[in-house]
């Protein structure tokens, strides 16, 4: 039986509007990558299908790429193109 891992997902700014929520808890088989989490999100939230193929992502406040592994308890944030300044 595959081990499971649970992580928290944050949808920021416009992505919260697209998905219809600003956070979600996702459980999936370990090991898993950011891309795997995105797959789960797209199948769970219809609005998540409107996210770009390769959104900016951060795990625990540091930017990561889609191939990065996720771990139990991580906070994965999906970030629209930034527009500060």
């Amino acid at each position: 039986m595959a081990e499971k891992l649970t992580l928290n997902v944050r949808f920021l700014a416009r992505y919260a509007e697209l998905v219809g929520t600003d956070s979600a808890t996702v459980t999936l088989s370990s090991p898993a990558s950011v891309a795997d989490v995105l797959g789960v999100l797209r199948s769970t939230f219809p609005g998540a299908r409107r996210l770009p193929d390769r959104p900016l992502c951060a795990i625990n406040l540091s930017q990561v790429d889609l191939a990065s592994p996720v771990a139990e308890g991580d906070e994965l944030a999906l970030l629209p193109p930034v527009a500060g300044g």
């Binding site: 920021l12 944030a77 970030l79 300044g85």
Partner: protein, 144 residues
């Protein structure tokens, strides 16, 4: 968590300058970004900045340290979050160094990296009543 870089209150440039100036730093360069009344050809009435707070704080801290190390400067910065009107200061940076070259370069570095890396978003309300998230990657011309 002490919110050192993001603030919902008016930014006080003098306070930022006080934090970086010292007797051996002869040059202080500051940058102020203010809300313009137009953007990409549309008339702006007001806007809202929001942030992924903890990460924005961390990125600002990283950028400050990078700039201080690279140019021997002292750097302070603040970004306003929440509702802003035309002319309001959205971001302020102060960089002090013994000589002006380093102060200019450090200040410029901080605003460029902030715009590139810090997770802050801008929602503009236009005079015609519409509202839009600003996306620098798709806008025809975003250079402010």
């Amino acid at each position: 968590m002490k919110s050192a870089y993001l603030t919902e209150r008016e930014i006080d440039l003098e306070l930022l300058i006080e934090r970086v100036e010292s007797a051996d730093r002869g040059a202080v360069v500051t940058f102020l970004g203010t809300v313009r009344n137009h953007h990409a050809g549309r008339e702006v009435e007001r806007l809202e900045y929001s942030a992924y707070g903890p990460m924005a704080e961390l990125e600002c801290e990283r950028i400050r340290i990078e700039a201080e190390k690279q140019w021997g400067a002292a750097v302070a910065l603040e970004h306003r979050i929440g509702a802003l009107g035309i002319g309001d200061v959205s971001v302020a940076i102060a960089a002090a160094a013994p000589h002006r070259d380093e102060a200019f370069t450090a200040c410029r570095y901080v605003i460029e990296e902030l715009k590139r890396r810090v997770p802050i978003w801008k929602r503009e309300h236009y005079v015609d009543g519409t509202v839009a998230w600003v996306d620098p990657t798709t806008a025809v011309k975003i250079e402010d």
